[in-house]
Structures are given as structure tokens and as C-alpha cells.
């Protein structure tokens, strides 16, 4: 289940983070405001001890109240300023950072929708969900907060150090030198932490994946009573996440506690030498107080550095994970110069088409040649695993052919825009997928402009009149968040969806399998009217479906081995007879036995298994 998890290198993460700058661009102004506000806040905070020092050295030392009021008012003004700018920073942040996060998220979703089916076959939904949620949150936290304070804190460190150097340079130098161990420590930390951070994020995705499967597959888990197994799998993943998180905690604990000590040690040294300097008369008492207060002020920037760098690392690996997705080019996409398909006659032609699933070593389809004339219906017949479904998926370009080409009215379907191709070609899949939306929207899907008449016609053809009896008719929400429908009902909706608006080319993958005999008869009758004028490729498992077609193509091991009418093939091709023979009833068992003699072996072994019970 693990996705490719490259060991992250520190440089790479920050490169990904740097690439996100395009998303920051519109908010440069706001970020500047936030940065300035943060700086002012910190400076105001910094100035208060100076004012305190001035009070002590001035009015207090002289024993006169005259200057006290002005300085007190200054301290209060600074306090108000600090709070006001703190407010400004947060307020601005609430706009631009959330906007930026949402923009990235929307782009991520748009990109994922563009990525082909082959990508989604492999990508675990849980991994994608955590990218769209927690990874983005991490990035936003760093860009909206961490990076600003990283800059502010470094600035603060520099400003305070300069102030200290001017107050009393020997001590100031000591403070300046304290940056060295901090930097060394940081570099070491970064190397360790980036690996741990990526690992935790990947594991979070794995946990989400198990959760997702456990929720979607709940029926099967319940039907087989496999709660314990799926629970065990979840605990394993959650346990791995816990261990990885603890590893992260250990790295952080070391780093953070050392960073905590640094300013303390600094303060001690300053106190010792400062007091000596005061005693020696090199430094005034008030200056020492100010000096100490300023060094205390440095504690927070140094301590916070640990935290900021940690989220910096985390957002770098999170950005890496995002770009793992963004950098995946859609394998199926509009080629440069592709044109709109426009109106077509509907002549569909497979020319020496071969296909293998990405990552597979074996061809599913080999040298398939087949022409379907405009208005003609061809049934595709073949044993389980012969490649029928793969062939149907090639027409709307859910996958691209590996070799050969598919043409529509003579134009290679890769030379036209995806959108115009999919406008012309409509598909009913073997698994009818419904979305959490109204019946109407489930029928129209991409065709938002479908008219009521078209919808009524589609419902009529697919015998899906039951939708009118749903509590809110066509407005009833179905799908995961709505009313559950039976398999037969879902299949009829999937069919209605395909025939809606009478597309020029129809691809139907075993469209009637879940229907009862009566409904099947009615649907066939209606479908026949549609197919009379539509180019269609129909995967058929049963003679009744085959009879919808003008011709039949027999697929075996990825090759088309015979094409002809049902009767022709029935008469002349034994393999076809074997696959589609209607006489699967007991009286034909003798024929069966002859046809699949090898099956007896299978049955023998099965009896053994049965007996072992």
C-alpha cells in the first residue's frame, strides 16, 4: 500500500516551498504589512524596557517626578501600539493566508481531476485527502506565521545585538557570538528532522487510506465479519504513525531544550560581567538593567526559532508532497494543436490498437482492428478478462492506446480536445457510480444545459421512471450522502446518463446485467430505437444484449478473433458458441462437458476443498 516514498533531501523540500511563491505573489503587499506590523509589535515590546531604564536612570535617580509622567505616557503609548499592530497583523493574515491556502487547494483539486484514471487507480484517496487538508494547513501556518517571525526574529536579534554593542560592546560581542552554536545546531537538526517529518506525513496519509477503505468497504467487512482484520490493519498503521511521531518528538525535544538553555546561559554571563563592569565603573547601573532586559528579550526569538524551524521543515516536506501531485503530468491530455471535434458522423475505427495498463508488462489488447460504421451497433463478446472493459475505456480516452490509433470520422481521437471527444462519446460503465447530488444532476453530470425534455427521454429509454416516485422526484439527493438505490436502479440511471442528449457514439459496458427480466425487455426495446441511429459499442455477456447489435466482435486474450452477425458466429465459431450459448441449462450439460473438459479437474479439486469442511 505504500506509495513511492523517496527519502527527502533538505534542499528539495525548500525548493518545493520556494516554488509555492507563485501563490504568495498576489499577497506580497499584505505579507509586507504583516511583516512590518510584526516588527513594530516586537520593537514596541523592545522599547518598553528602555523606557523603564530611562525612568530608573532619570526621574527615579534624580528623585524628581517631573519626567516621570511623560515617560509613563510613552510606555502606555507603546503598549497600545504593540496591541494595535498585533491586531493588524492577525487581521490581515485572516484574509490573505486563508485565500492563499484555498487557492492552492482548489488548484490541487483541479489538477487531480485532470489526472487520468490510471493515476487514480494507484493513488490512495487517503493520501490525497491529507495533502488537501493537513499538508496545506502546515504550509499555511509556515507562510502566514512562521516565515514572518523567522524574519522578524532574525531582525530582532540583529537590532538587539547592535543596541547591546552600542550600550557596552564587550558584552554585546558575547551576545553576537551566541548565534554560532545556534546555527550549528540548526543545521544538524534540519538534516534529521526533514526525514522524520516526511515520514509522519506519509503515514498520516496511510492511516487515512485505511480509514477510507474501511468506510467504503463497510458492507463487505460486515458481511464477512472481518472487523478484527481491518481493525488490526488500522492499528498497525496508527501504531507506525505513533512511533514515527515519537521519533519526531525526540528530535524536537533535544533541539528545543538546547535552544532554551542558550539565552539563559547568555543572561548569566551578561549578569556576571555586567555587574563587574558596573563595579569597575565602565557601565551605569541603569544601562546594566537595560542590558539585562534586552537580553531577556532575546530569549523568545531564540526559543521560537526552534518552533519556527520545525514548522518550516514540516511545510517543506508538505510542499514536496504537494508537488508530487502537481508535477504529475496528466498522461491523457489535450495535445498541442488539438482541435474541437465538432459534428461527427460517428465512424469509429480501431486501427491496430494495442494497450497495456501503465506499469504492467503484458498487453491487455493486441492489434485490435475494428470499424464501426455510423449508426451501427457492435457487440463486444469475450470471456472474463479478455479485455472488453479496457477496450471500452479507450474510446472516451480514459486511457490512451499504447500502440495503433483510434479514429472518429478518420481523425485520431488524440488530435481532438478531450472535452469535445467526451461530448460526442458517452459511456455507461459496468459499475454505476452515483454522486451525492440530485437525480437530475446525476443524469446530466457534465451536460448542465440538458433540457427537461432530454432528461425525460433518457429516463424513458432506461425505464428509470422510479425516480419520479422518490420523495422529491428529480430533486431527490442520491449517492453517498443521499437515498440509497438498488443495483438495478443505479444501473438504469447510469444508462440514462449515457443516452441523455443522444450522443453520436455510445459505449455501453454490460448495461443490463442488474436488471430483472421484465425491465430488461423494456429497456432493450427502448434502447433499440436509440441504437438505430447511434454508433455503439456494447459489451455483452448475454444473448439478449447481443441481439441489440448489428454485428458482434469476439475478443479472446486481447485479440479480436471473429467478427460477424450473432447467427454467423453462433454457427461458425465454436469459441463464440461456448461463450454465448444460451443452452447453459441442464439439458445442455453434455455439450458443456465436452466444451470445457478441463473444468472437471477444477471441480475435482473443489470437491476436495468442500470435503475438508
Amino acid at each position: 500500500m505504500s506509495v513511492e516514498q523517496p527519502t527527502p533531501k533538505s534542499g528539495q523540500g525548500f525548493r518545493s516551498l520556494w516554488r509555492l511563491r507563485t501563490y504568495l505573489k498576489p499577497y506580497v503587499g499584505q505579507m509586507l504589512v504583516m511583516g512590518v506590523a510584526a516588527l513594530v509589535t516586537v520593537l514596541a515590546e523592545l522599547a518598553v524596557p528602555l523606557v523603564s531604564a530611562a525612568v530608573i536612570d532619570g526621574p527615579v535617580a534624580r528623585g524628581e517626578t517631573a519626567g516621570l509622567w511623560a515617560l509613563g505616557a510613552l510606555a502606555i503609548a507603546l503598549g497600545i501600539g504593540e496591541a494595535a499592530f498585533g491586531f493588524v497583523r492577525r487581521w490581515v493574515q485572516s484574509f490573505c493566508m486563508l485565500d492563499m491556502e484555498t487557492n492552492i487547494r482548489n488548484d490541487l483539486y483541479a489538477h487531480l481531476q485532470r489526472l487520468p484514471v490510471a493515476y487514480h487507480d494507484r493513488a490512495q484517496t487517503g493520501q490525497l485527502v491529507t495533502r488537501a487538508t493537513s499538508d496545506l494547513t502546515t504550509i499555511r501556518r509556515f507562510l502566514g506565521f512562521g516565515i514572518i517571525f523567522l524574519i522578524v526574529n532574525v531582525t530582532l536579534f540583529v537590532v538587539v545585538t547592535v543596541l547591546l554593542l552600542r550600550l557596552y560592546w564587550p558584552l554585546g560581542l558575547v551576545v553576537a557570538l551566541s548565534a554560532v552554536p545556534v546555527i550549528v545546531l540548526t543545521v544538524r537538526f534540519e538534516r534529521e528532522y526533514i526525514v522524520a517529518s516526511r515520514q509522519c506525513q506519509d503515514l498520516e496519509g496511510d492511516v487515512a487510506t485505511v480509514v477510507e477503505e474501511s468506510a467504503v468497504g463497510i458492507r463487505i467487512i460486515k458481511a464477512l465479519g472481518r472487523r478484527r482484520q481491518i481493525g488490526g490493519r488500522f492499528l498497525r498503521e496508527a501504531g507506525r504513525l505513533r512511533r514515527a511521531s515519537l521519533g519526531k518528538v525526540r528530535i524536537l525535544a533535544k533541539f528545543w531544550s538546547i535552544l532554551d538553555i542558550v539565552p539563559q546561559v547568555l543572561l548569566g554571563i551578561v549578569l556576571l560581567f555586567g555587574a563587574l563592569a558596573v563595579a569597575a565603573g565602565d557601565l551605569s547601573l541603569g544601562s546594566l538593567v537595560a542590558f539585562v532586559a534586552l537580553v531577556v528579550m532575546l530569549a523568545w526569538p531564540i526559543e521560537a526559532l526552534g518552533w519556527i524551524l520545525a514548522i518550516g521543515q514540516e511545510s517543506a516536506t508538505a510542499a514536496d508532497r504537494l508537488y508530487d501531485v502537481f508535477d504529475t503530468e496528466p498522461a491523457v491530455q489535450d495535445l498541442p494543436g488539438s482541435v474541437d471535434l465538432g459534428d461527427v458522423q460517428g465512424r469509429l475505427r480501431f486501427e491496430a490498437v494495442s494497450f497495456r495498463f501503465p506499469g504492467s508488462v503484458e498487453d491487455v489488447l493486441r492489434d485490435v482492428d475494428l470499424t464501426i460504421e455510423p449508426g451501427e451497433t457492435v457487440a463486444l463478446v469475450g470471456a472474463t478478462g479478455s479485455g472488453k472493459t479496457a477496450l471500452t475505456a479507450l474510446v472516451p480516452r480514459l486511457y490512451d492506446v499504447t500502440a495503433g490509433r483510434i479514429t472518429l470520422d478518420g481523425t485520431d481521437i488524440r488530435d481532438v480536445t478531450l472535452s469535445s471527444l467526451r461530448r460526442v462519446v458517452a459511456t455507461a460503465f459496468e459499475d454505476p457510480t452515483l454522486f451525492s447530488a440530485s437525480v437530475r444532476e446525476n443524469l446530466a453530470l457534465g451536460r448542465i444545459d440538458a433540457t427537461d425534455a432530454e432528461i425525460a427521454e433518457a429516463i424513458d429509454i432506461s425505464q428509470a421512471g422510479f425516480v419520479h416516485e422518490l420523495p422529491w422526484g428529480l430533486a431527490t439527493r442520491i449517492g453517498e450522502q443521499g437515498l440509497s438505490l438498488s443495483g438495478g436502479q443505479r444501473q438504469r440511471l447510469a444508462l440514462a446518463r449515457a443516452v441523455l442528449g443522444r450522443p453520436r457514439v455510445l459505449v455501453l459496458d454490460d448495461p443490463l446485467s442488474a436488471l430483472d427480466v421484465y425491465t430488461e425487455g423494456l429497456v432493450e426495446e427502448a434502447l433499440r430505437r436509440v441504437l438505430a441511429t447511434t454508433t455503439a459499442l456494447v459489451v455483452a455477456h448475454r444473448p439478449s444484449t447481443v441481439l441489440l447489435a448489428d454485428r458482434v466482435a469476439l475478443l479472446e486474450n486481447g485479440r479480436i478473433i471473429a467478427v460477424g452477425t450473432h447467427t454467423e458466429l453462433l454457427d461458425g465459431v465454436p469459441a463464440y458458441r461456448q461463450i454465448l450459448s444460451a443452452d447453459a441449462l441442464p439439458d445442455a450439460e453434455a455439450a458443456d462437458n465436452a466444451a470445457d473438459a478441463d473444468l472437471d479437474e477444477d471441480l475435482d479439486s473443489e470437491v476436495q476443498v468442500g470435503a475438508s469442511r
Binding site: 485572516s94 492511516v207 473444468l599 476443498v609
Partner: protein, 623 residues
């Protein structure tokens, strides 16, 4: 939410993207009555408490470490004031620097002690936090798995994901920072308060004046942020629901050019999530600087008043310096506390959701006193069963009153039009739901009295939708019997005729089927499901349209295998293809939730009832 102890809530229709359709609504809304809100918060606190309880000792140790560290930290300003007030005069008086050296040594000691304690705190509290999160995940996950299908049908997988990822992470954020800040803050505030009083009571009283205002601000933020964080949790769940659902059905999305509309819906829920977040952020934008402002004003007041008192000679300079330093340490924790309170509010909203899930009771509960069923024979009995999917809704009754006995070992075919109640009957037997009235028994034992393990050993159902988990073919088959050997798995596949296609896969039984079994066709997936059920070897096998996607040869193979498989077990077969019926000992024809015909296949076919018609129609469809 179905049966949970929920406060009365108005549960308005979800707005935004969903406004155009109606039907099964989503979760509870952000606006909850005052009493309901109190209830929710108490419930989530209970959950947090129960998670923390096992770590009581560790938590006290950790709190102790924070305390010590804080004490060490507290020494700092005091040592500095001693150094200035005593150390310097000593040197100036020519009495040597002993005081200063001691102060320095103590200062260094406290710095190192602080570092060590801090390290101890981080590792220890990190451990406790991770253990609590692990426990929370485990409890919520296990509980979700226990909950009935009726819950999952409403709750949706996207919400389940959001609860176990986003919500749990929110709580993790609280645990990451909470303890030290809380202990430190409370401790700093109390201890510094005392120190301030000791140092100079009149100045300390000035500080105390700010307290009522602080209280008002905390209450204001608490009330408002609760609402906005609830909204955040709900909107992120909706976001994940849309995300997961639409990417799960990507084939249909792309084939039907649904992308733009999806994008529209997604951006709308993302906008809602953003708005909820923004509201929370803006509350913080007012709250945190507000606390800061109050602190700063107090410091200003102390500077004025303290400076004045120093000038008139009521206090020493050293006292004023210490006072000002301590005061910083007094209000900084106050600001920390406001940040922490914010995390707490956010986590509480997540805890509300999670405790809500944990409070859901299974509509199909595990028996309090289970009865054993060690070697099930497979006699099935429906006794005056009444059932509908929406309990209480009179018009939604699917089975008004059903009586049925299936002797052990009998193969029963169930036929009838869509909506006749065939699948419902099957689901009741598999105990996906419980009947409203009457009972379903296996070997005389009510299925409600069986443990899940015993029930699933006795009854297994194979449905039309054959869900495969990501993993290998072998792993998916082994789901039927987790301890199955490889030979058993392969034999099972062979027995139902799946061996052929599996052998043709690149890595045979070890081929990764990909997400949802996307690598295989629907027919192949059904064969794998069959092999699974065969391996599970139950006394009662239910096949609900389990062969619909098979091609004729595969189906024939399965039929023939079934003949052997079913000889010594009870079977309930639902199929539109009447070929299945041929292997049945008995046919039941259902109509409107009632059994209208019951007899041997040959008798019914020869008769003049509904089944005879159906059989004719089917023969006709075979052409």
C-alpha cells in the same frame, strides 16, 4: 444522527452547494441551543478526561517537571535583583565579588536544570500525547466499525475520514502544546502574583485591577469561538466528503465532463471552510491583542505608580526593577493562555464531533448475553418479521409480516420484481439490520443473540457490488478466512472457476488489484468475492445478485461449482438470471414484501403462477 443522545437541534438543510437538491440531510449544525451546547462541551470534556486518565501518573510527573523548571526559571529575576542590589555594592565597598559569583553559579545551575527538565517534559508529554491520540483513533475506529450500516449510509465515508484525520489532528495540536503552557501559565500567574504581593502590596493591587477585564475577554472569546470552530469542523468534513467522493468516481467524472461542475462545488465548500476559518481567526485577532493591551496598560500604570513610589522613597530601585521584570513574566503567560485557550476551543469542537460518533449506539447492537452457536447447521427461521428502512414510517414498510422456515441444507431461490423485498430479507438474515417486530433465527438462536464472530461464521453474504481492498488477489480472497493457507486460497479460487483468470495475471495471486480492485473487471471482482465466501465456508450462504456481472461461461462454472458447494449448506439465492434457479431445491416468489409462491422449481414452472410467467419471459430473453 440517528439514535445518539443528541440535544434538540434544528438541523437545517445544508446550504451552499447543496441547496439545489433535497433529501437525506447531513450532520447537526453549528447553531445549537444553549443547553445543547453545554451538554456537548461536557461530553467532549468527559472524552478528553477518559483519554487522559490512564496517564495520570505520567501527567503528574510531567506537571512536576514543569513546576520545577518554572521554579528554576522564577529564580532568574530574583537572582538578578540580588546581583544588582547586593553583589555590586559589595564589590564597590571592596568586599570582593563572592555574592556575584554565587549568584552567577546559581544562575547557570538553574539554566542547565531548566534545559534538562524541559527535555524531560518534551519527551514525556510527547509520549503521553501520542498515546492519547493512538487511543482516540483506535476507539473511534473500532466504534465506527461496530456501528450499523444504517449509520454509515447516512454518515458517508468522507465524514469518517475527516473525523479520523482532520479532527484527530486538531486534538493533536492541542496536546502538542497544551500541558506545559497550561501548567506554566497557571503557575506563573499564581506564583508571580504572590511574589508581587510580597514585593509590594500596593503595586500588586494595581495589577489585580486588570483581572475582571481579563475574565470578560476570555468569556467573550469562549462563547464565540465555540460556534466558529464547530462550523470549521463541519465545513472541513464537507470538503473531504466532496473531495473523496468525486475522486473516487473519477471515471464517470471524466467521461461525462463533470470536472467544471465538480470544481464549482468544491470551490464552494472550500469557500465555506475558508469563511469558517476566517471567522475564528478574526476572533483571535481581537482576543489576543486585547489580552496584550490589557497587560501593557497595566505595566504602564505600574511604571508610573512604582516610579512615583520609588521617588518618594517608599520602595527601593531593585524592587521596582524586579517588579517590572516579574510583571512581564506575569502577562506573557496570560498571552500564552489565550493562545492555548484558542487551541483548546478548536480541539473541543473536534472532540464534540468525535464524542458524537462514540455516543452513537449501534442500531444492530452486540448482544449483552450472547448465546453460542458452535457448529451451525443452518436452519433458518423468520418469525412474523416486520421491517422498513425508516423505522416508524408506515409507508416505508418493506416487509409487513414475513414467516419463513428454511431447513438446513436447502437451497432457496428468491425471485420477484425490483422492490419486492428480496434483498431486504437477505440483509435481515445477515443482520445488516434488525427487524422491527418478530425475529430471525439460525438453528433456533435469534441472530440478535449471536456474537458477531459466531454470526459471521454461520452466515455469509455475497452481494452484487464486490468491493476489493487494495492489496493482492490472495489477500482479498483470504478475507473470507484470515488464517487460510495459500493452498486453501488457491483451492477456493479453483473451486469457483477464478483460477483461470488469476493465473493469467502478471503476478498471479500476488497481483496488486489496486484501489477498489480497479485492476480487475467487474466480473473478475465478483469471482474473487465468490472465492472469498467459499473460503469462509459458512453454514448459510446468501447470494444477492452475486453473478450479475459474470459472463456466461463464468456463470456456468459458478453454477456448477455451487451445485457441489451448496449440497451441505443452506443457501438463499437472489438472481434475475433464472439459470440460478435451476440448482435450487425451492423457489420463493416475492411481491410487495410477501411470499406469493413457494414450491419446487419444476412444480412452479409447470404451474400457472407468477413464476411460470417469469420463467417464460426469461427463456425468451435467452433467445
Amino acid at each position: 444522527m440517528t439514535t445518539a443522545v443528541m440535544p434538540p437541534d434544528p438541523s437545517p438543510e445544508p446550504k451552499a452547494a447543496e441547496s439545489e437538491w433535497r433529501g437525506v440531510a447531513s450532520e447537526d449544525a453549528a447553531e445549537i441551543s444553549v443547553a445543547g451546547g453545554v451538554f456537548l462541551r461536557e461530553r467532549s470534556r468527559r472524552l478528553l478526561g477518559s483519554l487522559a486518565r490512564p496517564h495520570k501518573k505520567a501527567l503528574w510527573t510531567v506537571a512536576g517537571a514543569v513546576l520545577l523548571q518554572n521554579a528554576a526559571g522564577m529564580a532568574g529575576p530574583y537572582l538578578i535583583s540580588v546581583g544588582i542590589d547586593d553583589g555590586i555594592p559589595q564589590i564597590l565597598a571592596g568586599d570582593g565579588s563572592s555574592t556575584l559569583i554565587i549568584v552567577f553559579a546559581l544562575f547557570m545551575l538553574s539554566a542547565v536544570a531548566q534545559g534538562l527538565l524541559r527535555w524531560f517534559f518534551f519527551t514525556r508529554s510527547g509520549y503521553v500525547g501520542q498515546a492519547m491520540l493512538f487511543q482516540l483513533r483506535r476507539r473511534v475506529f473500532n466504534h465506527l466499525q461496530e456501528l450499523s450500516l444504517s449509520f454509515h449510509e447516512k454518515y458517508t465515508s468522507g465524514r469518517v475520514i475527516s473525523r479520523l484525520t482532520s479532527d484527530v489532528e486538531t486534538i493533536g495540536e492541542l496536546l502538542d502544546e497544551s500541558l506545559d503552557e497550561l501548567v506554566m501559565a497557571v503557575l506563573s500567574i499564581v506564583s508571580i502574583g504572590v511574589i508581587l504581593l510580597v514585593l509590594d502590596a500596593p503595586l500588586a493591587l494595581v495589577v489585580l485591577l486588570s483581572f475582571p477585564l481579563l475574565l470578560v475577554m476570555f468569556r467573550w472569546f469562549g462563547k464565540n469561538s465555540t460556534l466558529s470552530y464547530r462550523r470549521t469542523r463541519e465545513t472541513v468534513a464537507l470538503l473531504i466528503v466532496q473531495f473523496a467522493e468525486s475522486l473516487g468516481g473519477i471515471r464517470a467524472v471524466q467521461a461525462f465532463r463533470r470536472e467544471p461542475r465538480n470544481q464549482e462545488i468544491f470551490e464552494e465548500v472550500a469557500e465555506d471552510y475558508k469563511a469558517a476559518n476566517r471567522r475564528a481567526w478574526q476572533l483571535i485577532a481581537v482576543f489576543e491583542p486585547g489580552i496584550m493591551l490589557l497587560g501593557n496598560l497595566t505595566i504602564g500604570a505600574v511604571l508610573l505608580y512604582g516610579g512615583y513610589r520609588t521617588i518618594i522613597g517608599e520602595i527601593e530601585v531593585g524592587v521596582l526593577v524586579a517588579f517590572l521584570l516579574y510583571l512581564r513574566r506575569f502577562f506573557a503567560p496570560m498571552e500564552d493562555l489565550s493562545v492555548l485557550y484558542n487551541s483548546f476551543q478548536s480541539a473541543t469542537a473536534a472532540l464534540e464531533k468525535l464524542s458524537g460518533v462514540l455516543e452513537e449506539t449501534a442500531t444492530v447492537p452486540a448482544p449483552a448475553q450472547p448465546r453460542r452457536l458452535d457448529s451451525p447447521q443452518g436452519t433458518v427461521h423468520f418469525d412474523a418479521v416486520r421491517f422498513g428502512y425508516r423505522s416508524g414510517a408506515e409507508d416505508a414498510v418493506v416487509l409487513p409480516r414475513l414467516d419463513l422456515t428454511i431447513p438446513a441444507g436447502q437451497t432457496v431461490a428468491l425471485v420477484g420484481a425490483t422492490g419486492a423485498g428480496k434483498s431486504t430479507l437477505a440483509r435481515l438474515l445477515a443482520r445488516f439490520y434488525d427487524p422491527h417486530e418478530g425475529s430471525v433465527t439460525v438453528d433456533g438462536v435469534d441472530v440478535r443473540d449471536l456474537t458477531d464472530a459466531d454470526l459471521r461464521r454461520a452466515v455469509v453474504m455475497v452481494t452484487q457490488e464486490s468491493f476489493l481492498f487494495s492489496g493482492t488477489v490472495a489477500e482479498n480472497i483470504a478475507l473470507g478466512k484470515p488464517d487460510a493457507t495459500r493452498a486453501e486460497i488457491e483451492d477456493a479460487a479453483r473451486a469457483i472457476g477464478a483460477h483461470g483468470f488469476i493465473s493469467a495475471l502478471p503476478e498471479e495471486f500476488d497481483t496488486d488489484v489496486r484501489k477498489r480492485g480497479g485492476r480487475l473487471s467487474a466480473g473478475q471482482r465478483q469471482l474473487v468475492s465468490f472465492a472469498r465466501a467459499f473460503l469462509a465456508d459458512p453454514a448459510v450462504l446468501i447470494l444477492d445478485e452475486a453473478t450479475s456481472s459474470l459472463d456466461v461461461p463464468s456463470e456456468r462454472l459458478v453454477q456448477r461449482a455451487l451445485r457441489t458447494i451448496l449440497t451441505d449448506r443452506t443457501a438463499l439465492i437472489i438472481a434475475h438470471r433464472l439459470s440460478t434457479v435451476e440448482i435450487a431445491d425451492r423457489v420463493l416468489v416475492m411481491s410487495d414484501g410477501q411470499i406469493v409462491e413457494d414450491g419446487a422449481p419444476a412444480d412452479l414452472i409447470g404451474g400457472s403462477g407468477a413464476f411460470a410467467d417469469l420463467h417464460q419471459a426469461w427463456l425468451h430473453s435467452l433467445v
